[in-house]
Amino acid sequence: MSAPTIRVPLHRLAHGRTGDKGDRSNISVIAWHPVFWPLLVAQVTEEAVARQFAHRRPALVRRHLLPRLQAMNFVIDAVLDGGVNDALNLDSHGKALSFLLLDLVVEVPAQHAALLIGAD
């Protein structure tokens, strides 16, 4: 029997920051606790991130892993409505997009609930 799990938004396990170059966004995802790192690797995948940004029609989502930093870096192409020069979006740099990624729901073993930060 598998251990009980709870479903929480990613921002309770990790934090991150968005950067941009042209119409390409990069979003870091950094674990708050080493125990969360394997969960992030397993669940915060390129496919999961592509789904989270589907309405922006990203051309490509690429994930880079940095296990020593317990961090990953997503590079998302053509997700910025054209980027700072072209976007009609108020946030033409896409600075807020890390928070869209951090809304992703992940499954965490209930035994680690005490290590989560903040509240939903």
Binding site: G19, H55, H64, L66, R68, N73, V75, V84, L88, D91
Partner: protein, 448 residues
């Protein structure tokens, strides 16, 4: 002989950053003693095009508009203490900036300065255009600049410059240049150059590494955001760095603030490309070594790219925007109706972006799928915002007119119309062989 530790303080991360950031950094550098450099990073991707336009309006202009405000509070202290200043605040007119700094020094009663400018980045000059013209066929080009590396900065410092004024150089090169000059590393010492590059990367956004742009109450608390301390990197002879900030200032430096900045605007962490080196973060580690002190280690380097990146900025028509507010009962329904009216009135002009501030205005998409997917809500305080782009000014002007007309023709109670029409700038990037771009420095004498 072992060189003493080099400290580099950063007092600006973009054009428009806080102008009172430098003073505490300078005082901390002085208190620490030893060789140190102050850097200001003030060029974003498009800043140079705007500077180029400013210079067309005024041949003496085109450098950082806040130059005086940035330097005036600290120039005398830096000179007295032997702190050298390196910055890209020359923008589209480094020589103009150097002359202005001479004038400022005179106003402040300071002795004559040794100011060097770094040149070679401006590829808009007639004899340089062939390098990138193929990438910009048919475009209304405003500026073309290559990202220069650290070598000309290092050369200027070795030649005795007290202040080095650059235009477009890669941001981390503002840090690599002083380190290269100070430790006299070989210019193909890729590991050391990569480490100094990442130190520069941590510094280049100013307070972003010391708690700026990090705070998220209840999740990521940052003390003293209003009085953030800007970062100082202690760079050792092997290029490893410890990031810290002036005592008594706000902000925080811990492994998490450093990790966020380390990956900021990085794509492949194993191949972070700059004109100086290819930096590899694959084995990088950050370690908290004391309060507000974090050490970065494990960075490796690979030979620098054979090409330099060139950014060509060009005029791309007009951006039109308009806003109007609805409040109280059924506010969201009235705002949505106003959007519908605008869509109908502006049909044929091109895609109209619709945002409902207070409902959805950031995560959405240009096609409006995200907004449409949300059922009509009960928001009682909504600002409708619309935007479109058009090549032609007269066509773009129709948007502000239609938004203004909502005052009498639109749904009930709309108020607070604001509109804007702005020229748009686009950028295309291309790569040119590095030997085709010659970065040089020269000293600018005080005008008589």
């Amino acid at each position: 002989m072992k060189e003493p530790l080099l400290r580099i303080g950063c007092a600006a991360g973009f054009s428009g950053d806080r102008v009172d950031a430098a003073a505490p950094v300078v005082e901390a550098l002085i208190a620490a003693g030893g060789p140190s450099v102050l850097i200001f990073e003030t060029l974003a991707e498009r800043t140079l095009a705007l500077a180029q336009l400013a210079r067309r309006g005024n041949p003496e202009g085109g450098y950082e508009p806040l130059l005086d405000d940035l330097l005036r509070p600290v120039l005398a202290r830096c000179l007295q203490a032997g702190i050298r200043i390196v910055s890209n605040f020359g923008a589209a007119n480094p020589v103009g900036a150097a002359r202005r700094i001479h004038a400022l020094a005179r106003e402040l009663g300071l002795p004559p300065l040794r100011i060097a400018v770094v040149e070679g980045d401006d590829l808009s000059l007639p004899d340089r255009r062939s390098l990138w013209e193929g990438a910009a066929t048919g475009l209304q080009v405003v500026s073309a600049n290559a990202y220069l590396g650290a070598e000309a900065i290092a050369d200027a410092l070795l030649a005795g410059a007290q202040i080095v004024v650059c235009g477009r150089v890669a941001d981390p090169s503002l840090t690599v240049g002083p380190a290269l000059a100070h430790y006299r590393w070989r210019r193909d010492d890729w590991d050391r150059l990569a480490r100094a590059t990442m130190a520069g990367h941590l510094l280049e956004c100013g307070a972003q590494v010391s708690g700026g742009y990090y705070a998220d109450p209840g999740f990521k608390d940052v003390p003293g955001l209003a009085t953030l301390g800007y970062p100082i990197a202690e760079i050792d002879a092997d290029g490893h760095c410890t990031i810290t900030k002036p005592p008594g200032t706000g902000g925080r430096i811990d492994e998490h603030t450093v990790k966020e900045q380390l990956l900021y605007e990085v794509h492949d962490p194993q191949a972070y490309l700059t004109p100086d080196v290819v930096a590899d973060l694959g084995e990088a580690e950050v370690t908290q070594t004391g309060p507000d002190r974090v050490r970065l280690s494990g960075v490796r380097g690979h030979p620098r790219p054979a090409t330099l990146k060139v950014n060509v900025c060009h005029a791309t028509g007009w951006l039109a925007e308009g806003e109007i507010s609805y409040a109280g009962a059924r506010a969201e329904a009235r705002a949505r109706l106003a959007a519908q009216v605008l869509r109908e009135r502006l049909r044929g002009l091109g895609p109209l972006r619709v945002d409902l501030i207070g409902v959805s205005s950031i995560f959405g998409d240009d096609e409006g799928q995200w907004l449409d997917a949300q059922a009509l809500g009960e928001a009682r305080d909504v600002r409708l915002r619309v935007a479109l782009r058009h090549a032609d000014q007269a066509s773009a002007e129709r948007l502000p007119r239609e938004v203004t007309a909502l005052y009498t023709c639109g749904p009930a109670g709309g108020g607070g119309v604001r509109t804007a029409l702005r020229p748009r700038l686009g950028t295309v990037s291309c790569l040119v062989p590095r030997e085709q771009v010659r970065a040089t420095h020269r000293f600018i004498e005080e005008a008589a």
